[in-house]
Structure formats: structure tokens, C-alpha cells
């Protein structure tokens, strides 16, 4: 028979198989060449390290007043100077890093916890489920989200005294108003993925809906989800700073960068270092997360491949 004459094993050696790369590895290969994203990742690593160190040790306690003359500029003993209550600004910047990390990571997690299931359900089941969820997403898009979050913090903590003013209520308020970015993205992914062959195959082999959703569709949508969650971090950090700057965020002794900027803004003409230290720290942090986010987006989006 002619069929038997075909030398099967040769196929493997004749063609050089493309190297098998997983999605994460592929993304890593591309992000390694993106200098801005690497700088961002480096800054974020320093931020996390500072945050971890600050939970155990800061040069002075963040709340300790009068460790030196008030409004004193940078000196050898206090590299970033002292604020209007004579607190060591370096210690407070370190403490602020810890708050920033908690707010950012906490928000990214809760936003994903709300957005991913809703998006998956809407995209997978379509029909009435999709219509309902999409209706809420659209309604939510039409409202000024940060102002709603601000009102939520005020209502939950100050008016109803349900949750004490703190990191948790800020993260919660932010997530309740920002989940739809993730939900909309995941919905789109699920809509596209549910038509793919591997989902068909899974359904053919008798997998139940939940199994298809969580072990077939979800892992394949992971890349864009990571990107979206990364972008939620700077937004949450900015929201916390924005609230604390207005005096509506974290209560007074907590070293939030926004609150520190507000402290310094009142003495701007004779002690600019008080405002400059936290605002520069905040700007660099936001920049790092945005750069990393942009890098991740380019890395996970094959259409952007150069």
C-alpha cells in the first residue's frame, strides 16, 4: 500500500517545530524588552520592599510628634525633614508606602472578585443574564464613579457609622464603583472564547457549565484580566490620596501621602519639602504602575506585537 510508504517519524525531524511557549512565558519574553515597564517594575519592587520594612520598622514612629523642630528642612538626622507637627517625614513616607500597597492590592483583588464572575456569567450565558448585567454596567458608566465612591465612604463611615474610617472602607467604596471595567472586559473575552473549539470540545466531553467557565474560559482570559487589575491599582491609590487630601480619607495620624500633601500645602511658601516629599512619592508610584500596566498590555496583546 502507498500509505505505508510514508515515513512517519521524519515529519518531526524534517520541520523544525516552533518552540513551545506558554502564554505567561511569551508575555515575559516581550516585557523583558520593554525598558519603561522594567523601570516601573523596579520602582514597584522598591515600593513593596519599603512597605514590608515599614510594617516592622521605621526610623521614628509615624505618629510621633516633636522629634525635632517643626517645619525643619532636610538634615542628616531627618533626610526628608520634619513636618508641621515635628514628625519625621521619611518615616511617614515609608508608612505611606505601606498604606498605598494595601489600598492598591486590596482594590485590585476586590475589583477582580466582583468583575470576573459577573463578566464570565454575562459572556457565557448571554441572553437575559447578559442583558441584566450589561444594563448595570452601562448605568454604572454613566455616573461620576469617584464622587460616588467618595459619597460611599462618607455614608458608610461618617453618617451611618457602619465601618470605621480606614483602609478597608476606601478599598470597598472604590471597588463597588470600579468593578465594571473588569466586568466589561471579561464579558467580551468570554463572548469570544465560548465559540472556540476547545470550549466546544469540553462541552462535547460532558463538562458542566461551571467547569467550562472556570477551567477553560477563565484561564484563557487571564492575560487581559491581569492588565486590567494592574490599571486598577494606580486608580485606587490616586483615589485614596484624593480622599485623604480633602480630609475625607484616612483619619489624621495615619501617614497617607494625600493627607501629608494637604499638611504641607498649608506651609508651602516657607516649608515646601513637607508637600513635595509625598507628592513626588505618589507621582512616581502612579507612573511606575502605569508604565508596568502599559508594558503588560503590550505583552499580552498579540496584535500589538512589533
Amino acid at each position: 500500500m502507498a500509505m505505508a510508504a510514508v515515513p512517519e517519524p521524519d515529519l518531526v525531524t524534517a520541520y523544525e517545530m516552533p518552540e513551545q511557549v506558554s502564554m505567561l512565558q511569551d508575555a515575559w519574553n516581550r516585557i523583558r524588552r520593554n525598558r519603561l515597564a522594567l523601570v516601573g517594575a523596579g520602582i514597584i519592587a522598591i515600593l513593596f520592599l519599603t512597605a514590608i520594612v515599614a510594617t516592622f520598622w521605621t526610623p521614628y514612629p509615624v505618629w510621633l510628634q516633636a522629634v525635632g523642630p517643626t517645619y525643619q528642612g532636610p538634615s542628616a538626622a531627618h533626610p526628608l525633614g520634619l513636618d508641621q507637627a515635628g514628625r519625621d517625614i521619611l518615616s511617614r513616607i515609608m508608612g505611606g508606602a505601606s498604606i498605598t500597597v494595601q489600598v492598591g492590592i486590596g482594590s485590585a483583588i476586590i475589583v477582580s472578585l466582583i468583575g470576573i464572575p459577573l463578566g464570565l456569567l454575562a459572556g457565557f450565558y448571554r441572553g437575559a443574564v447578559d442583558t441584566t448585567i450589561s444594563f448595570f454596567i452601562n448605568i454604572w458608566y454613566g455616573i461620576p464613579d469617584l464622587l460616588v465612591a467618595l459619597i460611599l465612604v462618607f455614608v458608610l463611615s461618617d453618617a451611618l457609622h457602619l465601618i470605621p474610617r480606614g483602609i478597608f472602607v476606601i478599598v470597598l467604596a472604590f471597588s463597588l464603583t470600579r468593578w465594571m471595567d473588569v466586568a466589561r472586559l471579561v464579558r467580551g473575552q468570554a463572548l469570544a472564547l465560548r465559540e472556540r473549539e476547545f470550549v466546544e470540545a469540553a462541552r462535547m466531553s460532558g463538562a458542566r457549565d461551571l467547569r467550562i467557565i472556570f477551567s477553560h474560559i477563565f484561564p484563557n482570559a487571564l492575560g487581559p484580566i491581569i492588565v486590567q487589575a494592574t490599571f486598577a491599582i494606580p486608580a485606587a491609590v490616586l483615589f485614596e490620596a484624593f480622599l485623604s487630601f480633602l480630609g475625607l480619607g484616612l483619619p489624621s495620624p495615619m501617614p497617607s501621602w494625600g493627607a501629608m500633601a494637604n499638611d504641607g500645602y498649608h506651609g508651602l511658601d516657607f516649608a515646601p519639602h513637607i508637600a513635595l516629599a509625598p507628592t513626588i512619592a505618589l507621582s512616581i508610584t502612579l507612573m511606575a504602575f502605569n508604565w508596568l500596566g502599559d508594558g503588560l498590555r503590550d505583552a499580552f496583546d498579540p496584535r500589538m506585537r512589533r
Binding site: 455616573i143 500645602y265 505618589l282
Partner: protein, 315 residues
């Protein structure tokens, strides 16, 4: 304006009204859970005066009745009620006056955002990979991460302290508001972060458009550079930029809350924070309702501009 467009705008207006009423109703109901909460902080409030206060504002009625009163007042008369702290101050005229102040700042901020953003984006795209492009691109990559309140603090420091001889502090220390020289610093602080974002977006879409065949044809016909860039390329390059106009206007409105507080501008944003800190719930709800409607209308406006640029889109 086709009939389709009119009915689309009508539908959207209904949806905006529903959204506004829905979110402000939630805020209203939440804030009215504890009656008289707003008066609790005042020192030496006798039970009689508290009761008189509650009665004056109708806060002694059942919650459902309060809600119906508020709802009909807003919907039928556009009446947002009376300030809890300054009796006799009615909220609707107050907010309309303050909104006009905020609109001035917002308008100039929008000009900074769109004007500067488009300019930088177009120039960077046309001079791709030259030093002009590198300067513009790096500025926008840094700029869009710096929050407006940080820029405002830097602006205050520069204009109000280091360059005091030139500015004379006119933008800040002069009582009252409305002079043109008071506008630039707040408007720049509010507009620059978004301008960087617009510049990035414009550069990317411009780069894509100037490589298309029809633009090459326009060059080949011997048209002047101004005509090719502005009339042929820019019009299509604007489409992705218009899509972010909605979030951008929302961002400027949100940003104005903090900017107005920094520069002491007597607008809606300052009122919002002041009333929250003073627990003047009626004003909080009023400003919030105003903002929700404003953001909805801004988004609608953007969607109406869209088909003008891209005739393929019809409603």
C-alpha cells in the same frame, strides 16, 4: 438631524434622568437613615430646638413621606431643598451660581486638555523619531501619571512663591472670583494630566492615519501640508480621541473638586467638600444630583459629536 438621532437623544435623556434619580435616591435614603443626624454635632442643642429644626425641614415625617416630598420637589420644581446649616439658603439657585464658576474653570481646562493634547500629539506624529517626538512623548508618558492636585501644589509653589514678583498672587489672594488672570494656573493644573493622555492617543492614531493610502494620495495631489494634515488626516485620527472625551470630562469634573479646594474657587467642587465636612446633607445630595446629571449630559454630548466625525456611525 434625522429622526433616528432625535429618538436616540430622547432615549438617552430618559436613561440619564433614570440614572440620576436612581443614584441620588440611594444617597438620599442612606443619608436619611438617622433623623436629625445633621444637627447632632451642634453644641447645646436643646430638645425643643432640635424638634423645631426637624419640623422645619420635614425631617420628623416618616422616611417614605420625606422621600416622596424630596422626589416630587426635584422632579416637578427642580427644587433641591434648603441648606441644613444656613437656614434660608435654597440649594438650587446656590448651585446654579456655583456651577457657572466651575464651568469657567472646567471650560479652560478642557481647552488646555484638547488644544495642547492635540497639538503635541500631531507634532509628535509628524516628526516621528526626532527630538520633538521624544520630548513630546516623554512629557506625556510622565504627565498623565501626575495627579492634578500634585500639579496644583507645584503650580502654587511656582506661581505663588518663586514667581510672585511676576504673578503678584493674583490668581489666589484676590477675593472673589471671575477675573481672567485667576484662571490659568488652576486650568493648567486640571487640564495637563488629561492633555498628556490626549497627546499619547492622538500621536498613536495620527501615526496610523498618515500611513493610509488616502493620505498618501492627498500628498501626491500636491495639496498643502496644512490641508492634508488638518482636513484629511486629523479628521480620522480624531475618532479614537473622541471616544475618551466622556471619561475625560468626568475626570475634569472629579478633578475640579480638589482643584477648587486648593485654589479657593467658590464652585460646585468646593461646595461639595465643604457640605460633606459640615454634614449639610441636603447640599451633599443636591450637589451629587447635579454632578450625576452633568456627567450624563456630557457623555450624551460626546456621543452626539461622534457621528459628525465618523458618518459610518448612525443612531
Amino acid at each position: 438631524m434625522t429622526r433616528g438621532t432625535v429618538s436616540y437623544i430622547g432615549q438617552r435623556l430618559v436613561l440619564i434622568a433614570i440614572t440620576t434619580v436612581l443614584v441620588s435616591s440611594i444617597v438620599f435614603l442612606l443619608l436619611h437613615q438617622i433623623p436629625g443626624n445633621a444637627f447632632l454635632n451642634e453644641t447645646r442643642t436643646s430638645p425643643e430646638s432640635l424638634a423645631a429644626n426637624l419640623h422645619h425641614y420635614g425631617l420628623d415625617l416618616p422616611l417614605g413621606q420625606q422621600y416622596v416630598n424630596w422626589f416630587t420637589g426635584v422632579l416637578l420644581h427642580g427644587d433641591l431643598g434648603e441648606s441644613l446649616k444656613n437656614r434660608g439658603t435654597f440649594i438650587t439657585p446656590l448651585l446654579i451660581r456655583e456651577a457657572s464658576v466651575s464651568a469657567t474653570v472646567g471650560f479652560y481646562a478642557l481647552i488646555v486638555t484638547i488644544g495642547l493634547g492635540l497639538l503635541l500629539g500631531i507634532v509628535a506624529a509628524l516628526r516621528q523619531n526626532t527630538w520633538v517626538d521624544y520630548v513630546a512623548s516623554s512629557a506625556s508618558v510622565v504627565g498623565y501619571s501626575i495627579p492634578s492636585f500634585v500639579l496644583a501644589i507645584f503650580g502654587l509653589l511656582l506661581a505663588g512663591h518663586y514667581f510672585y514678583i511676576w504673578t503678584g498672587g493674583t490668581f489666589y489672594y484676590v477675593p472673589g472670583w471671575g477675573k481672567l488672570e485667576q484662571v490659568p494656573v488652576p486650568a493648567l493644573a486640571l487640564g495637563l494630566p488629561y492633555a498628556s493622555y490626549v497627546a499619547r492617543l492622538t500621536r498613536a492614531s495620527m501615526l496610523e492615519t498618515i500611513r493610509t493610502d488616502y493620505v498618501r494620495t492627498a500628498w501626491a495631489k500636491g495639496l498643502r501640508a496644512r490641508v492634508v494634515v488638518l482636513r484629511h488626516a486629523l479628521r480620522n485620527a480624531l475618532i479614537p480621541v473622541v471616544t475618551i472625551l466622556g471619561p475625560l470630562i468626568t475626570g475634569i469634573i472629579t478633578g475640579s473638586v480638589v482643584i477648587e479646594n486648593i485654589f479657593g474657587i467658590p464652585g460646585l467642587g468646593k461646595e461639595f467638600v465643604t457640605s460633606i465636612l459640615a454634614r449639610d446633607y441636603n447640599i451633599v445630595i443636591g450637589v451629587f444630583t447635579f454632578y450625576a446629571a452633568l456627567v450624563g449630559l456630557a457623555n450624551l454630548l460626546v456621543d452626539v459629536i461622534y457621528p459628525v466625525l465618523d458618518p459610518r456611525i448612525r443612531y
